[in-house]
């Protein structure tokens, strides 16, 4: 039991470290085993954590609203006024009937006319105020959304690569899209409904208390069960809405992934299976949503029943009191009329509460992302690096993806003096890209430090670090937009000439100019308009334009044909003069231009020296590699 001798076999691996036992909550749908096991399955858990979640999202809400206190107060004032003028309507009608009509019958039409004009005036004022309120509160809501969207975007960019790996893009996208939509709904409908309903209820309650306190107390007593029902509703619909949020995230993840991998989907006839999976994800969302709607139905039904019941009680008790002579008939009549009005906005309030619960669930998720601290954080007091020489050092560095997994890079030291070109070779999975990513600070080492010009990367401002170190990643990701846009991402302020010069240097210019729109050609989603090699050239030109002190190339030429690759190599020889470079390549032709070769195996640097020397040392790994490579060329 205690002997993990066969830790390498799949079966032994199946019992993972206890800390990361995958929670069944996210993966328990039947037929879900295709999804496989991963450590990140634990979503924000239910139960005890719920309070914390709520507090977190309330704090976020507070942060968003606080700077807008002024407009919020103004909006409140507007509704108060609007409601006042709205409520004036019935009074004026009553006046017209009670005062105006008798006067008119007496042959004096002026009072009636005044009431009529007053009525119309009140209506106009109320409508104009309503307009002002809608636009103001709409602006408020949109401002809040705008800020939240921007925050989420910026924060997502700040978060470390390891966060993105665990969280997955689909979930992040659903935070930005469907969760934001929930909030939008609350802001669009909720504010209006909430203010108006509450105000009119408070107003009427005050009026009733003034008219007849005992009867009003009877009526207000009915609020107790109402509050209880509302509490029931909140807790039920909260859990339903939470489920809608996570199941919608699953829908979105599946959709995005399918659309991005549609070639493979079609070529491998994956459509049916995907339909099924979508059916499941979408069905889960549907069930959760239906649940929320059903809970809402019960809630609305219950509040209405309570309101109506209350009406009956007041009618019965009031009628009895009238019969007893304890109450005026007129008061009871007015009371009943107002009581009905009191309960009218309750429906709307229920809807507001409903949007609120939905939005709260969404806000929980959003605030969850925002509360995520970047693991690879920018220092609070960065060391400035004006112009980097490009002196790179790894000092006692150790690194592994996740604590429970064996380290990918066991402890090592490495020094790359400024201006040196280092080639990194080794078997796939040896850890070459990982080393490069440490240098580009995608991750921080779990022990030791990586320094640039003697400064720990963790102490450098992001800006300086990125100006000094650029990396062409193994997967050449292009953004939609034109070719020029994509190259210019390396240095946004570059002129057109500089863009062309960069493309020329890596040998992309001829093919770009052969395209109908040249540099303005749209590359489509992920660069689908271009061939794989062309994409690599563009990605390369992009890093080239950035002209960093340290350039990291991770198999930047793997999809190129030999002549193109040689052109790139020639370009490199000039470009790399005076720069530090780390080049990862499997094609040793690229490696031969390096000053120094590092051979990696199982995360360790096993050979280190100038290429010619290593080739010469028979029995060495690089020697063997080189032999094999030469053989492969024939």
């Amino acid at each position: 039991m205690s002997d993990p001798a066969d830790a390498g076999t799949p079966d032994a691996g199946r019992s993972p470290a206890p800390t990361t036992t995958p929670s069944p909550t996210d993966t328990s749908t039947p037929g879900d085993d295709w999804r496989g096991v991963a450590a990140e399955d634990v979503e924000d858990p239910e139960g005890q954590a719920s309070l914390r979640l709520e507090r977190r999202s309330r704090r976020l809400l507070g942060e968003l609203i606080r700077p807008r206190r002024g407009p919020v107060a103004l909006a409140l004032l507007l509704t108060v006024l609007q409601n006042a003028s709205y409520l004036a309507g019935p009074l004026l009608v009553a006046g017209a009937i009670d005062v105006g009509l008798p006067a008119a019958l007496d042959g004096r039409p002026e009072p009636l006319l005044w009431f009529v004009l007053g009525y119309a005036g009140a209506a106009i004022v109320s409508a104009v105020l309503q307009f002002a309120f809608i636009t103001l509160s709409g602006r408020l809501g949109q401002d809040v959304l705008l800020e939240l969207r921007q925050r989420l975007f910026r924060h997502a960019q700040r978060l470390s690569v390891s966060f993105h790996e665990g969280y997955t893009s689909g979930r992040l996208i659903s935070r930005m899209t469907s969760d934001m939509e929930s909030l939008d709904r609350l802001l669009a409908e909720g504010l209006d409904g909430l203010f108006t309903s509450l105000l009119s209820m408070i107003g009427i309650a005050a009026l009733l208390l003034w008219m007849d306190a005992p009867l009003a107390l009877i009526m207000l007593a009915a609020l107790v069960p109402l509050v209880l029902v509302a509490g029931w509703f909140r807790s039920r619909s909260r859990s339903a809405y939470r489920r809608t949020r996570s199941s919608m995230a699953n829908v979105i993840t599946h959709l995005v992934e399918t659309m991005n991998g549609v070639r493979a989907v079609q070529a491998y006839r994956r459509e049916h299976r995907n339909d099924e999976i979508m059916g499941e994800a979408s069905g889960e969302f549907r069930r959760a949503n239906k649940r929320a709607l059903d809970v809402l139905a019960v809630f609305v039904g219950a509040t209405r029943s309570l309101g109506n019941l209350n009406l009956v009680v007041v009618l019965a008790v009031g009628g009895w009191w009238v019969a007893d002579g304890r109450l005026e008939l007129g008061v009871l009549t007015a009371f009943l009329l107002y009581l009905r009005r009191f309960y009218e906005p309750l429906d709307r309030l229920a809807m507001v509460l409903d949007s609120y619960t939905g939005a709260a669930a969404a806000l929980e998720k959003i605030s969850g992302v925002l509360a995520e601290a970047p693991h690879v954080a920018e220092p609070s007091e960065p060391v400035r690096l004006v112009s980097s020489r490009g002196d790179v050092r790894f000092e006692g560095v150790e690194f592994g993806y996740g604590e429970d997994r064996p380290p990918v890079l066991p402890r090592f030291d490495l020094e790359v003096p400024a201006g040196q070109t280092v080639a990194l070779v080794g078997a796939t999975g040896a850890g070459k890209s990982t080393l490069a990513k440490l240098l580009a600070r995608f991750y921080d080492p779990s022990a030791g430090r990586v320094t640039l010009d003697g400064v720990d990367l963790r102490d450098l401002a992001d800006e300086d670090l990125r100006t000094a170190v650029s990396m062409v990643t193994q997967e050449s990701f292009l953004f939609s937009g034109s070719i020029a846009d994509n190259i210019r991402l390396g240095r946004p302020e570059a002129t057109d000439e500089e863009v062309v010069a960069a493309a020329r240097a890596v040998g992309a210019h001829p093919f770009v100019t052969s395209l109908p729109d040249g540099y303005r050609t749209e590359v489509h989603k992920r660069g689908g308009r271009l061939s794989a090699g062309q994409r690599q050239l563009i990605a390369f030109a992009r890093a080239f334009l950035a002209a960093p002190a340290v350039l990291v190339l991770d198999e930047a030429t793997s999809s190129l044909d030999l002549p193109a690759e040689q052109a790139v190599q020639r370009a490199l020889e000039t470009v790399l003069r005076g720069r530090t470079a780390v080049i990862i390549a499997h094609r040793l032709s690229t490696v031969l231009i390096a000053d120094r070769v590092l051979v990696m195996d199982g995360g360790r640097i096993v050979e280190d020296g100038p290429p010619a020397e290593l080739i010469g040392s028979a029995g060495g790994r690089f020697h063997a590699l080189h032999e094999a490579w030469r053989d492969s060329l024939v």
Binding site: N260, Q266, L293, L309, D462, S482, G507, P516, W629
Partner: protein
């Protein structure tokens, strides 16, 4: 107000807030997804009518719900009448027993009212969420079968916003908006009828007031429609930008361009905010008129009624009755503003939804599919195959010089391995995509065992031909599921054997949960070579008759490459395979090599034959050592179009 109907111009074209950053990401400049300009001119009603096939599935509950809502409204209206009767009768007469009865009646009405509302919501919750799920499923189903060309052009953010936001708008339309549009209209009409029975002139006043209300509403509807279309499109753009920023986070980090893109995103988000504000403004405007005009009508009625009472043509009682009725109509009338906006958003959502659903699938099963001979021999023949990417660019497109493939003739004998060699961007991947009909040739034909691919069922074809793509796309699923993608029935042994061929078994077993490990989204938590080997395993596990491998070893080191080659050689014997290759080492796997140049296969032969006879081939595949002193040949490739 300030703008005219031309605001319906395509999204973002004239946008002052666009950052003047040259490197901005004008995902909006790529025009493919149709923008609202045409949609706005279509009528909202027509757009809503397009939902009828789905509305049909919820017809019964919809009608029931409408009836229930109507009844509930009636019960609601009856309650004050009963209360009034109770006050005038038993209470005024101090008749406690009678009061009890009346209270019971009110209670009954109240319970009926709330019960009906509850029932209505309950009845609708199931069917409407089902319609939403169904529409999403149909959309997804359709999307998966649309050609790759469609997906290259449509940013997934746009598809996403349709599948999520638009569908939830449509669900709400079925659940509430449509019901209350009907119920409120009926209530208002009934109210008017009662009003008419009391006094035709009073009713007439309301009708006259209704005319400007309707006109204003219609006028704004048009603009609102185009704004809401714009907003929905902008939401899609925003989703797209965000998606790209997340998927491309490594690039953005490595170049330090997160802030740059954040500015672009902020500009887009501000645009969306602007559109939303214009919408809110329009809505507020309509709402204002919808609120104020009926009130003016009421004022006019009181004035007229008062005059009537004074002159004796009307009784006080009927005036009071008329006013009471109007008080009841107040809520239905007011809520029309909100219903109006919802209905318009639904119309837009429906337009956007059907835009995608109306896109042609293009590549589909033939009407009368032919059968492949069994067993499939695997003779793949390209006959004068031409291919042009549609809409690939600018004005020169029609010049005819933009064909990627210009008459490819190539025959793969059953069981042979044919390497396809050509410069970067010469059309190798394009050619391989044709073999499994991810696209159809624009000229000529491709046959498998003598049958035109277009006469085959897609499922048959794609079972017979599998492809390992140059970008190894892995899905967030277990390793096993990823490998079994094309062969869901593959046994554990077959999966393991395929992994062994791809030399992937070692690292897979070292994963924390072995074959059950979920590999991250797009396999990014594996190394490049590991991903490529899984994609290779996926292609071989299905034991296809024709195997297409697009540069399958590019990310492997020399040793691993040699081992995979040795294993592949065993697998490839007996299987027809087309192997795109950039390196001599990969070419060695092949029996014959075809050289693709200028959109044609210009030579076929063994590696050594071609090296000897074809200068173009030599330029592509000769070793650098042979290359010394021949620098002129090494002009980078990819310019095949211009060079010809």
């Amino acid at each position: 107000m300030d703008t005219d109907t031309d605001t319906a111009a395509p999204a973002n074209t004239a946008d002052p807030t666009r950052p003047d950053l040259p490197g901005g990401h004008p995902s909006e400049l790529s025009s493919p997804p149709p923008r609202g300009e045409t949609a706005a001119r279509r009528s909202a009603t027509r757009a809503l009518l397009r939902l009828s096939p789905y509305a049909g599935t919820v017809r019964t509950p919809l009608v029931t719900a409408t009836l229930l809502a109507l009844l509930a409204v009636l019960a609601g209206l009856a309650m004050p009448l009963a209360i009034g009767a109770a006050i005038d009768g038993p209470v005024a007469e101090r008749d406690l027993a009678g009061l009890g009865w009346m209270a019971g009646l009110v209670l009954l009405l109240g319970l009926v009212e709330s019960g009906l509302h509850l029932a209505r919501r309950r009845i609708m919750s199931g069917p409407t969420t089902a319609v939403e799920a169904r529409m999403r499923q149909d959309l997804f189903h359709h999307l998966q079968r649309l050609p790759v060309a469609f997906h290259d052009r449509w940013p997934s953010g746009q598809l996403l916003s349709r599948a999520v936001n638009d569908l939830s708008t449509i669900r709400r339309f079925f659940a509430f908006t449509s019901v209350f549009l009907v119920v409120n209209t009926i209530t208002i009409l009934v109210g008017l009828a009662i009003l008419f029975s009391i006094s035709p002139v009073l009713a007439l006043i309301m009708v006259v007031i209704g005319i400007p209300t309707a006109l204003i509403t219609l006028r704004v509807e048009f603009r609102y429609n185009s704004e809401s279309r714009l907003a929905q499109d902008q939401q899609g753009d925003l989703a797209t930008t965000f998606e790209e920023s997340v998927l491309g986070v490594r690039v953005l980090k490595s170049l330090g361009r997160g802030r740059h893109l954040a500015r672009h995103f902020a500009a887009q988000a501000r645009q969306l905010r602007g559109t939303e504000l214009r919408k809110i403004h329009l809505l507020g405007w309509v709402w204002m008129w919808i609120m104020v005009l009926p009130e003016i009508g009421v004022a006019a009625m009181i004035a007229y009624g008062g005059y009537g009472v004074a002159t004796g043509t009307m009784t006080v009682g009927s005036l009071v009755a008329a006013i009471t009725i109007l008080a009841y109509l107040r809520f239905p009338i007011d809520s029309m503003g909100w219903l109006f906006s919802e209905a318009n958003e639904t119309a837009t959502a429906s337009d956007r939804y059907w835009e995608v659903r109306d896109s042609l699938r293009e590549i589909e099963d033939p009407a009368e599919p032919a059968d492949l001979p069994r067993p499939v021999r695997g003779e793949l023949r390209f006959e004068d195959v031409r291919f042009r990417y549609s809409g690939s660019g600018g004005a020169e497109e029609r010049a005819g010089d933009d064909e990627v493939l210009r008459g490819v003739d190539l025959t793969l004998v059953p069981g042979e391995t044919m390497a396809l060699v050509g410069a970067t961007g010469c059309g190798k991947t394009t050619l391989t995509a044709l073999a499994s009909r991810l696209a159809d040739p624009t000229g000529g034909r491709i046959t498998l065992d003598g049958v035109d691919l277009r006469d085959l069922r897609l499922a048959d074809l794609r079972t017979a031909v599998t492809t390992a793509f140059e970008d190894p796309v892995l899905f967030s699923a277990s390793v096993r599921e990823n490998v079994r993608l094309g062969a869901p029935d593959a046994t554990e042994e077959e999966v393991v054997a395929a992994l062994r061929v791809a030399h992937a078994l070692d690292f897979v077993s070292a994963l924390p949960w072995g074959l059950d490990t979920r590999i991250g989204e797009q396999g990014l938590s594996l190394s490049g070579g590991q991903r490529q080997r899984l994609a290779l395993a996926r292609a071989v596990v299905a034991r296809p008759a024709v195997l297409v491998l697009d540069d399958p070893l590019s990310a492997l080191d020399v040793h691993t490459e040699a081992e995979v080659e040795a294993a592949l050689r065993r697998v490839l014997s007996g299987v027809t395979s087309l192997l795109v290759a950039h390196r001599p080492s990969t070419v060695r796997l092949a029996d014959r090599v075809a050289l693709l140049e200028g959109g044609r296969v210009t030579a076929v032969g063994t590696h050594h034959e071609l090296l000897a006879s074809e200068p173009g081939y030599r330029a592509l595949l000769a070793t650098p050592d042979d290359e010394d002193g021949r620098d002129g040949v090494a002009e980078p490739a990819g310019n095949e179009v211009s060079s010809r």
